[in-house]
Point group: C2
Chain length 192, copies 2
């Protein structure tokens, strides 16, 4: 997706240790026009698939999922990270290991919002170490729902998430895959 | 906004102590069609006003703000609750007192995403005790930007947020105002 590559090259900031900051358009400030192009592209990538609901995790996936859902005409459900008094007691849970925090946290979806009849498309901003996507898959599996695939905006191809998702039989569509970010320079995989 | 009132009456669940759960359409599962109607209504309510950016706070405001922004053709910035390694060091801060947690937490926006030239519209899901809206106003004030107003989906008219926002000279447009929720029964203010 050339528009997205251009945006990443122009506005993304590489900050040591494989961190790519895209907060000018994707996860702090939101470029809504770009999110619409991203949504259209996900629709193309999953054309013809039966999808009844989009699943994401708070926080960064929410805006992308909401805009994308307009092209699929389906609702969104976002998994919650915190135990909130507003969340039902009956939940499906996934575990996510955070490398930066060095601990595992839980993500939860109220049972009433996913049923075994659902065909779910996961949407998220990044695929890096794969922990979020595997945690979301746990939720889908626990609900005995169908996982159609995962639409990812930016995959860090130099981390193991893509491999782990493949091993877990998740059909991943990443709009761009970053091959490497050496010396602050971003290189994309071209056959994507 | 009758569509919204209908949805609240059909799907909202009153759970003691003034808690209204609307997680089937507004803050866990998201009804994207309804969010689009909400976005259109905010556009009507703020017709003719100069707005350069929409400001909200994570988590529940994000989807509403993103969908609404499509009708204003402006970007969204959402204030972050957690200190993230991905957030700039230079931030504008607002303080939010949480009655449920009994403590004050900070919300932050990277300075680069709000300038004194900006005309900001706050969008949020609820106006209850008013703490979130006042925290967001602090951020706008610190940036010496212009606060056009605040679009709120559901105002709890029996709590003090509306009064506090008025005292702070914030032009609030609430799509529905709940007058009372006694014995599980929801009554709306009709002159809204």
């Amino acid at each position: 997706m050339n528009l997205l590559k251009k945006k990443i090259l122009e506005e993304g900031r590489v900050e040591g240790e494989g961190i790519l900051k895209v907060d000018s358009f994707l996860n702090h400030q939101l470029d809504i026009e770009l999110l619409n192009e991203i949504g259209k592209e996900f629709k193309k990538r999953f054309e013809g698939k039966k999808i009844t609901k989009i699943l994401t995790a708070e926080v960064s996936g929410i805006a992308i999922a909401a805009i994308t859902a307009q092209y699929f005409n389906v609702p969104v459900v976002f998994a919650k990270k915190t135990e909130s008094k507003n969340l039902d007691k009956e939940t499906y849970e996934g575990e996510v290991y955070s490398y930066t925090k060095g601990k595992t946290y839980k993500i939860r979806v109220a049972k009433r919002y996913i049923s075994s009849d659902d065909h779910l498309l996961i949407i998220d901003d990044f695929l890096a170490n794969g922990q979020a996507i595997l945690g979301l898959k746990q939720i889908v599996d626990e609900a005995q729902a169908n996982l159609v695939g995962a639409g990812i905006v930016i995959e860090k191809g130099f981390q193991e998430g893509g491999k782990l998702a493949k091993e877990a039989n998740i059909h991943v569509e990443s709009l761009v895959i970053i091959k490497e970010m050496n010396c602050g320079k971003i290189a994309f995989e071209e056959n994507n």
